[in-house]
Symmetry: C2
Subunit: 242 residues, 2 copies
DNA sequence: AAGTGGTCTAGACCACTAT
DNA sequence: TAGTGGTCTAGACCACTTC
């Protein structure tokens, strides 16, 4: 344990997670922090940071004075809401082999509400990219991304099927930082239902999101719809912050 | 800065958040970690931990080599999904003055799926508590909580309008730890719509949750419905774990 | 080059759980 | 009472941004 990047903490975290999944702690009890620190040749602080992240993800839980234990229910969570970054990765985590279709790429002026969220003038142009994520031939996720044209260095085409954050980092020269998301319940319109291959009026979750770059500048307004029968979101709600 | 409990970290965090909300850092720039540590008489580690939590909550963001800054978009989030603990508190954070109605308390044997989630026999009895949260006279949240009767030391009545976690800690002698939640889109049934005061078929978010105690034992199966027009959930999706 | 946040260490003491 | 996780310190060095 000497190489950096990934950080020592990340390496310890990965080691622990791998051992847990392998069933290496068959009684569900994880060695004490001091023991792990000695064995891995790192400080207790580093071990603690790794365990804290695993606890936050629901992989382990800790009881002061007693020990640290494998958290079986948390291990079953495949798509943790706060950690979603690429829908392809989410589908892969569910055991699907995903594919992507770029349905359309259009350029027009922004609606007022979109322009407000993106902090641009309402007569500025935005490029709208509509994509469909499928597992086999079943559509699962429909996303509509709107990016101010002024941020895109090269014109987008239907060939641009890479994940959104990759597109923005490659073609907008910005590092993607986070999404601010609203969760909205909807009944799918005829058009949306057609695209997702379900009946009109089917209840669905919709994410209304604004994506920000490393300088906290809004770079994308995204709207996504999900097939509840194929992809269901889970999360852990904890008592305290960490 | 000497008293413990709340911890130094929590005190520093509270101080920073209070100062931020007061507009004390009017240029959006937060003093450096070293500066804060010196001013507050704590170690840099303590300041860093406080800032890390604020960053995770979306209150601030950090740029290596540049500094730490107030995160205006994140400040507007009132109900962060992962932090919800009591619906009354959520409604208060939205500026409402909430009230609670216990609609019914019944005891019966568990459905199979509920019994499975609660790890009890399907012929064990469970007590079902249905509650409605209102702001003024408008219903906002409808929740159905199911607790194995064997865990409850005193019979529940419609007078038990305290938050669920409080009820469990008082009457079940367990410390509540976390919820494992599924987010489900639904169209409200006639009965549910009546109780929430909206039209039948209105799209709504439903939480299907299992609550665990400090020993990782499932103690409650909860189902909750929300009026989207009065309460909308937001969250931050970040690139990395922390 | 100076200043910032990011990582890591070694060690101290406290609060809690188990036995 | 021994062992565990929880908190905190003081200091080191690194990576990055800004000027």
């Amino acid at each position: 344990m000497i190489a950096r990047n990934p950080s020592l903490t990340d390496q310890v975290k990965a080691y622990l997670k791998e051992t847990i999944i392998r069933g290496g702690y068959d009684d569900g009890r994880i060695p004490s922090e001091i023991e792990l620190a000695a064995k891995l040749g790192v400080s207790r602080t580093t071990v603690r940071e790794a365990l804290s992240r695993l606890e936050h993800e629901g992989t382990v839980y800790r009881k002061q004075g007693a020990g640290t234990f494998v958290n079986e229910p948390g291990l079953q969570i495949k798509s943790r809401l706060e950690e979603i970054w690429s829908y392809e990765a989410v589908l892969r985590d569910h055991g699907y082999t995903p594919s992507v279709q770029v349905l359309s790429v259009t350029t027009e002026t922004a609606e007022q509400s979109v322009a407000d969220d993106l902090a641009i003038d309402s007569d500025d142009a935005i490029v709208t990219i509509t994509k469909l994520f499928l597992e086999d031939d079943k559509p699962v996720v429909l996303t509509i991304n709107r990016i101010p044209t002024q941020y895109v260095h090269r014109e987008a085409t239907t060939e641009d099927d890479e994940p959104l954050y990759e597109f923005i980092e490659t073609h907008c020269d910005r590092r993607f930082a986070y999404f601010l998301s609203e969760i909205v319940p909807v009944a799918l319109t005829e058009h949306q239902a057609d695209q997702l291959g379900v009946a009109q009026g089917t209840p669905a979750i919709c994410f209304e999101e604004t994506g920000f770059d490393q300088d906290n500048v809004p770079v994308v307004r995204a709207t996504s719809y999900f097939r509840d029968d194929l992809l269901r979101f889970r999360l852990i709600r904890r008592r305290s912050g960490v």
